[in-house]
């Protein structure tokens, strides 16, 4: 694999940052703080609530800091509500879905953007339209069809519908990355005598890697927190994913503490995933195209 030289983080506006007045800088810092608080505050509230019991959550006057770091909710969530099982199910279903979706979408995206062929425009239009139907309405026909195919009732019954539902967006988003790859690269490779196969694997994929990673993460996040299909297609509670597990906290009596603890558990893997790959795809993007 060619190693790209890590470029200095280039940003559109930073080039002129030396010329920014102090007023400008103060405004930037102010807005940054506002943004920071805006993003984090609800999340902080979720974490805070996960340490409270049923009476404390609705207590007035409001406590901004937990009375004590009480992990009872978390313990309860794993022992009484089987979140551990649901976590494993979520991981398996999501990872498998992402891998399959990304493979299929990358191939399709490459074909649509780099190889103009008859019907590609129609296919793209179809992709755009299939996004517009709310999932809820294809749910019933989809469900009936899947049961006839014997696909309902196991964990894997989620994977195929998920893949199908994620393909349109994946392809659309991936296309924006494939389209950016300059034609010169393609032509250079062809002149060197590349076959289509080699073109795809040795040239296109590496250049679009950042896009592929970005879109995989997007797919991961979408599938990780999908609820409607998950709750309809899986019957046994040992097959539940985390989001369906969330709904088990809403009985006649919402277990807010458990709900909040589970939300934190749901949020963490996605956040870790993003942080780890973030440098990869944001910074690489700049360097990759230069070469």
């Amino acid at each position: 694999m060619k190693k790209f030289k890590e470029p200095k983080p280039k940003s559109a506006l930073a080039v002129g940052s030396r010329k920014l007045s102090t007023g400008h800088k103060i405004a930037l810092i102010l807005f940054s703080i506002m943004l920071f608080v805006l993003i984090l505050f609800p999340f902080y509230w979720i974490i805070l609530s996960s340490f409270k019991n049923f009476l404390e959550i609705f207590e007035v006057p409001i406590r901004f800091v937990p009375k004590r770091l009480d992990f009872t909710n978390y313990k309860e969530v794993f022992t009484e509500y089987h979140i551990g099982t649901y976590l494993i199910n979520s991981v398996v279903v999501t990872v498998t879905t992402v891998l399959i979706t990304t493979s299929i979408s990358t191939m399709a995206s490459f074909s649509l953007t780099r190889l103009q062929f008859k019907g590609s425009k129609a296919f793209v239009k179809f992709l755009q339209m299939s996004q517009m139907f709310p999932v809820v309405v294809i749910l019933v026909p989809l469900y009936l069809m899947c049961t006839r195919m014997g696909l309902v009732g196991t964990r894997s019954s989620l994977i195929l519908p998920y893949v199908a539902v994620q393909i349109p967006v994946s392809v659309i988003l991936l296309s924006t990355y494939f389209v950016d790859i300059p034609k010169e690269m393609e032509e250079a490779a062809l002149i060197d005598g590349c076959s289509l196969f080699q073109l795809f694997f040795k040239v296109m994929l590496p250049l679009a890697t950042s896009g592929i990673v970005a879109v995989s993460i997007y797919t991961f996040i979408q599938v990780w927190q999908e609820f409607l299909i998950a709750s309809s297609f899986v019957r046994k509670s040992i097959h539940y994913t985390l989001t369906v597990g969330l709904s088990t906290f809403k009985g006649e009596f919402i277990n807010w503490g458990g709900l909040m603890a589970t939300s934190v558990i749901i949020a963490i893997p996605a956040m870790i995933l993003f942080t780890v790959s973030q440098d990869f795809f944001i910074n690489r993007l700049a360097g990759g195209v230069k070469e």
Binding site: M1, F54, L55, I57, F58, E59, V60, E80, V92, V93, V95, T96, L99, I100, S103, Y143, L144, T147, R148, V152, G153, T154, R155, S156, L158, I159, F201, S231, S232, R235, K236, S237, H239, S247, T248, K250, G251, E252, F253, I254, W256
Partner: protein, 417 residues
Amino acid sequence: MKKALLISMMVLVVAGLVFAQGASEAGGKKEIRVLLWDSTYNSTIVKNGIEEKFEAAYPGYDVIFDKIAYDDLDKTILFSHASGDDYDVIQVITTSLNPLKAGGALAPMDDLIKKTNLDFSTWSPAAVKAGIIDGATYGLPFDPDCRILAYNVKILRELGLEPPKTTDDMLKIAKAAYEKLGVYAMAGQISKNVFCMYDLGGFQLCFDSKVYDLVDGKYTALLDKPEALAFVKWATEMYKYMPKDTNINDTLARSMFAQGKVAMLWWTPSQIKSVIPQFEHREDLEFSVMPVGPTGVRGSAMGGYHWGIGSGSKNKEAAMKFLEFALQPENQALIARGLPADTRAFDYPPYNVPDYNMFREQLKSSSYPAPLIDLFTKVAETWNRRFQESLLGTITPEEACRIGQQEVQAILDTYKY
């Protein structure tokens, strides 16, 4: 390097699919699949070892419980029926009995019942009747409940008022509590579609009024009656002293009640077992039967659950065996979250304490808020909109009743007799 990546990806995918397929169940015993509301499962089935008890009494059977969130119960029943994968035993929300039967999801049970030793003479007549549709039994009651009134004695003491016996008393307490102590009269989620039937609407029975009823063989909306107007006026007045948020979920309402911020609340017996233990100041709470309305009637709205057998079940006889077991008085007492349907069950723990005598009595005079036809939900949803509009003051109670009457009757006119 790339090849390794590719191969490991494929291995992951295959492994994922295989794992996701899940292991198949071991054969041998006769399987009985039971669908329950998870709250029932957690609070009674598990705690009382029902699975073990049944399998000890009937060794040839293996009972498997599936638990679902309340909101998904109907959906799961219908979907599993549509896919030919019906459950054997189903916990059915009583108000859903009719719709589910109309959708063909429930099996008629009369022939199966004849083979058992079940005797319904000591059961709540209203609950038994609710399970009989078009002359055949489609559901057996196992957990009816009714509404009772809960109130905070500490607040009443501060106001120098007696516990409420009539709906007028309730208004007096409401006004005093709100104006003198800044405490809410009651609290609930007015945007919930059964709010007009069970929550605040549950008091409509105290006014000798129902949203609709069977009149001379025809389902007729009764919102144009003076009793209905009296109720809506009462509710609108009461709402002045309730929180302004329209989305106060039940948990929040009970939390506020537990913190002494709400004076009175409609309550169900099931919440005595499940919710009260979480209160810090248990001694401030007291319960009573529902109040008496202006015409001297005391009404209590019934709800609860029935057992049904899936129409596509391949194990109906086994299912009935489970039901026969579950409906024995001592087991009903263990499994019911609200009240057992059989009055004999009150002789068994945990119902054999004086606390429950009041509910035993109240159950006898309870009734469902309106006939449980399959249009029940649609009517509730439609009327609740006008009910809310009256409470919020966007229309007057008179207008609400007038428009509501038209809309509800229009829905009832589509009923297929």
